[in-house]
């Protein structure tokens, strides 16, 4: 029935499943940020500490279904935890699950987990969030529910696969505020493979920087929380130790010999990776990789070196880890589950004291705000000119001094419904300026009556009086943005024969603003040379590249590629094929008007006729031909037409407005609509990937 289909759609989108607690909108204003800051400073005055127990568990379940009791993992402690945060990875490994199909595994594991929560207490689910195979569920004891502000519960997910589309790796997070303490849980599955720790570091940085709780305005970051728990299959391995040594040390419990070689512990606290996070001492055997169903190390031909892939990290004051271990008896996966229990000092508010402090802070903020309002002194507030005559200029001077405490922008502004700041016979110079504190500015006021105004003045249709309105603002923030081909339009790019940075600014402005390319007279490129260079590069070097368009590039290389395209140096594109592929997608995404213009968007969804404007059509034809070429080598590059259709559908066809308002996140109808549009976009592109383009 309808509800079922909505649920399954939500699950497919991996955003949430069966919302158990409603979520409201709660924007946070700049002022509220200050209030929070000052309230935090004085928190001790109005809060009492209540120690609560938070259980964090993580398990890479290798696509298996729950087939054994979970109490060994979830009921390990005698007392029931107050909060459970449970992270799963590789929940669903089915082929291409990440793009098209829904997951029944999600339902199975949610159910299994519920059955094995500690019997000593009653729990309610706060929220769960899933990104393909990465699932995070947070439960809380029912007795705490009244102290969890429903408006402040939020989730986010960040895919770290290519262009954030793939989502087979990434991080999901849930945040909540319990009493007066904000909690954030992140479950992540970082890049695999022994040598890829730099890639894992980048995945961490991406998740850390891109996770935004958009329920808040401005959105909250992970780091704006009192207590943060980062769990998951972080995939860090043991380097520079032979497999036999690792197994020997592991079996003898000599973890101290292995820990210095653990890629994560050796970086923790020494680099920007997981800055500020702590981990309890590891006193358990590596949790990866076992022969499924056993406690025996991986005997497959790949011979993985055992590693502590599965970890629990935490950050914040008042967290005391009580235990941290793995659960060896659970054998359904090739990983063992891990859990940690923490005693956390949750701050509970005393309402009366709270109100008093709150009012004091409001008063203080008003005072600060009012004191820092810009203030200027004017030498004169009224100018009177006697006997002004035709074409006889008269002038006077207005002295403005900034007597406030901050820099100020002063600007003469138009009065309501007026088209100019003053009447034509009057002129003020300058009409806008920035003044530092104590700075003084002379403003010239000129009167000059000439033929245009004289008639009206003679006939008394106009009089020689006017009011100048001087507005004061704070100071604008400016930066110098270097023009880039990324974000330039196709029409502009095909006119540029050299790299964009070589153009002087007036020429660039002219090109960018002159959409009427037929009148420029210059030679036009069929497709922008930047697109050509990237496509050509992939064509020459990457046709048979494995996982083309599926494996992400490196940010640093993408930046080098951008520089190369914008400056023309070096001559060949730097970086790996994967970075070039991701740059191409980024380039297409950054086009101000997508390859298929937005005016044709809905027409394209409905039909496959060509509605494309000339220059966009060239680019579209060219790229489709390239994609068809790629598909000829699908055995090598593992591309398939469905995948490319879905991925390029998203960048070729962008709707005139964002598909759905992010605030409608929880609206199932909007999601359903978005889902259907995604499918149509893929179907549209599919047509061009399977047939020759024919004008």
């Amino acid at each position: 029935d309808f509800t079922d289909s909505v649920d399954s759609l939500q699950q497919q989108l991996g955003i949430s499943d069966g919302v158990e607690m409603p979520v409201g909108n709660k924007p946070v204003t700049a002022r509220e940020t200050f209030v929070r800051h000052y309230m935090n400073e004085r928190e001790d005055e109005f809060t009492n500490i209540h120690p609560l127990k938070i259980f964090c568990g993580t398990w890479n379940v290798n696509g298996q279904s729950p087939s054994e009791p979970l109490n060994e993992w979830l009921c390990y402690d005698e007392d029931p935890p107050d909060i459970y945060a449970l992270g799963f990875q590789e929940l669903d490994l089915s082929n291409q699950a990440y793009i098209f199909s829904e997951s029944t595994k999600d339902v199975e594991w949610q159910k299994a987990v519920r059955n094995y929560l500690h019997p000593g207490a009653r729990y309610r689910k706060i929220k769960s969030v899933r990104l393909v195979g990465v699932l995070l569920i947070v439960f809380i004891q029912e007795k705490h529910i009244p102290f969890v502000n429903r408006n402040f519960i939020d989730t986010d997910s960040v895919a770290t696969g290519i262009m954030g589309i793939m989502g087979n790796k990434g991080g999901v997070s849930v945040r909540l505020t319990l009493h007066n303490t904000s909690l954030c849980f992140i479950n992540s599955h970082l890049a695999a493979h022994q040598e890829e720790y730099e890639r894992r570091n980048q995945d961490y940085r991406d998740i850390e920087s891109k996770t935004k709780f958009k329920q808040f305005l401005p959105p909250l970051n992970i780091n704006e929380h009192d207590m943060i728990f980062w769990i998951g299959d972080l995939n860090y391995r043991i380097s520079n130790l032979g497999i036999n040594d690792v197994k020997k040390y592991a079996d003898e419990g000599l973890y101290g010999k292995m820990l210095p070689h653990d890629q994560l512990s050796s970086q923790l606290g020494k680099s920007d990776v997981f800055r500020g996070y702590c981990e309890g001492p590891i006193t358990f055997t590596p949790t990866y990789r076992y022969d499924t169903g056993t406690n025996n190390w991986d005997s497959s031909e790949k011979k993985r070196i055992p590693a502590w892939c599965d970890r629990v990290l935490f950050k914040g004051n008042g967290i005391n880890q009580l235990r941290y271990n793995s659960h060896q008896t659970l054998c359904v996966s090739d990983h063992k589950p891990v859990s940690a229990l923490h005693q956390c000092n949750i701050r509970v508010i005393d309402q009366t004291k709270y109100k008093k402090v709150y009012e004091e802070i409001m008063k203080k903020l008003d005072k600060i705000e009012n004191e820092y309002l810009p203030q200027v002194k004017l030498s004169c507030t009224e100018f009177s000119f006697k006997d002004v005559k035709f074409i006889e200029p008269r002038s006077d001077k207005l002295v403005v001094s900034n007597i406030g405490q901050a820099p100020v922008t002063i600007e003469f502004i138009k009065k309501l419904d007026d088209s100019d700041i003053c009447k034509p016979w009057l002129q003020v110079t300058p009409s806008k300026a920035v003044l530092k504190p104590d700075e003084i500015l002379n403003i010239q006021i000129d009167i000059y009556v000439e033929k245009a105004s004289a008639a009206k003045l003679n006939s008394k249709d106009d009089t020689l009086d006017d009011i100048l309105v001087l507005h004061l603002h704070g100071v604008p923030v400016t930066g110098n943005y270097l023009p880039s081909s990324f974000g330039s339009s196709i029409e502009a790019l095909i006119q540029m024969h050299g790299p964009i940075r070589e153009l002087d600014i007036p020429k660039l402005v002219e090109i960018v603003n002159n959409f009427d390319v037929t009148f420029t007279g210059g030679r036009l490129y069929m497709v922008p040379k930047e697109i050509f260079r990237m496509v050509n590069h992939i064509h020459l070097h990457g046709l048979k590249e494995e996982s083309l368009f599926q494996q992400p590039g490196l940010n640093s290389e993408i930046q080098q590629i951008r520089e190369c395209l914008d400056t023309g140096i070096p001559e060949t594109l730097p970086g790996s094929i994967h970075s070039v592929a991701e740059s191409l997608l980024l380039f297409l995404e950054a086009l101000p008007e997508s390859v298929i213009p937005s005016i044709a968007y809905y027409k394209c969804l409905d039909t496959s006729n060509n509605y494309l404007l000339n220059f966009h059509r060239n680019v579209f034809k060219y790229l489709c031909a390239f994609l068809r070429e790629l598909l000829k080598y699908s055995e090598d590059n593992n591309l398939d037409v469905k995948f490319l259709a879905s991925m390029f559908g998203e960048v070729f066809l962008r709707p005139p407005k964002p598909l759905t308002d992010p605030r409608l996140k929880s609206d199932a109808h909007a999601k359903q609509a978005r889902r259907m549009e995604d499918d149509k976009r893929a179907a549209f592109i599919y047509h061009f990937l399977t047939n020759e383009y024919d004008d």
Binding site: N25, K26, P27, T29, A30, R31, E32, L217, Y358, E359, M362, K363, L365, D366, K367, E369, N370, L373, P374, Q375, V376, L378, C380, T381, E382, F383, S384, F385, L398, G404, K415, L416, L426, I445, I447, T463, L464, D465, D466, I467, L468, V469, L470, H471, L472, H473, G474, R663
Partner: protein
């Protein structure tokens, strides 16, 4: 706690005590001889009423006749307006009526109107009867208080009354839309004074 920004505009004849009312409300102080306001001046004040936080952005306009044409710049988009008169000056009460007319035509249709009869500490010099002003306010569905910026009588009250009368549905809609609104207001917030020079 939910926070709501309330743009409020003070209107009324020159010398009725608009700036003094703002000063009493914002800093709880009084100066006997304030300079005449040029153009308009801006201040903020946050209050809590019934568990909600209201942040007033107060535009205090100049009462002098020569600035009258500028008033729409400040009352357009205002959620509330206080029209002040001086209980010791009958002519200032007459002006209230013309302000009401103008706001009804040009202001926001849901604008909350409040009338403040200031200087009520000067009972001996009174020219406007309390009853007359009360009746008039009731007739036009405006809030009404006699106030004294000098003694602080009813100054905070009139703002509290305004908070309570603000259309409540606005609360949710202003929250949803506040991404846009707040950014706009943040620019406006920093402006304090406007001046006019009128060559004649």
């Amino acid at each position: 706690m939910s926070m709501r920004d309330v743009k409020l505009c003070l209107l009324g004849d020159s010398g009725v005590g608009k700036s003094s009312l703002v000063m009493r409300f914002v800093t709880d102080s009084f100066k006997p001889a304030l300079e005449s306001t040029i153009g308009a001046s801006f201040m903020t004040k946050t209050v809590e009423v019934d568990g909600n936080t209201y942040k007033f952005q107060i535009w205090d306009t100049a009462g002098q006749e020569k600035y009258r044409a500028l008033a729409p710049m400040y009352y357009r988009g205002a959620a509330a307006a206080i029209i002040a008169y001086d209980v010791t000056r009958e002519s200032s009460f007459k002006s209230v009526k013309s302000w009401v007319q103008e706001l009804r035509h040009q202001g926001h249709p849901n604008i909350v109107l409040a009338i403040a009869g200031n200087k009520c500490d000067l009972e001996d010099l009174r020219e406007v009867r309390l009853k007359d002003a009360e009746d008039y306010a009731k007739q036009i569905d405006a809030l009404f208080c006699e106030t004294s910026a000098l003694t602080a009588v009813n100054v905070a009250d009139i703002f509290t009354k305004i908070c309570k009368k603000l259309p409540s549905e606005d609360f949710s809609s202003s929250r949803v839309g506040s991404t846009v609104n707040l950014r706009k207001k943040r620019d406006v917030k920093k402006e304090k004074k406007c001046c006019g020079g009128s060559p004649s």
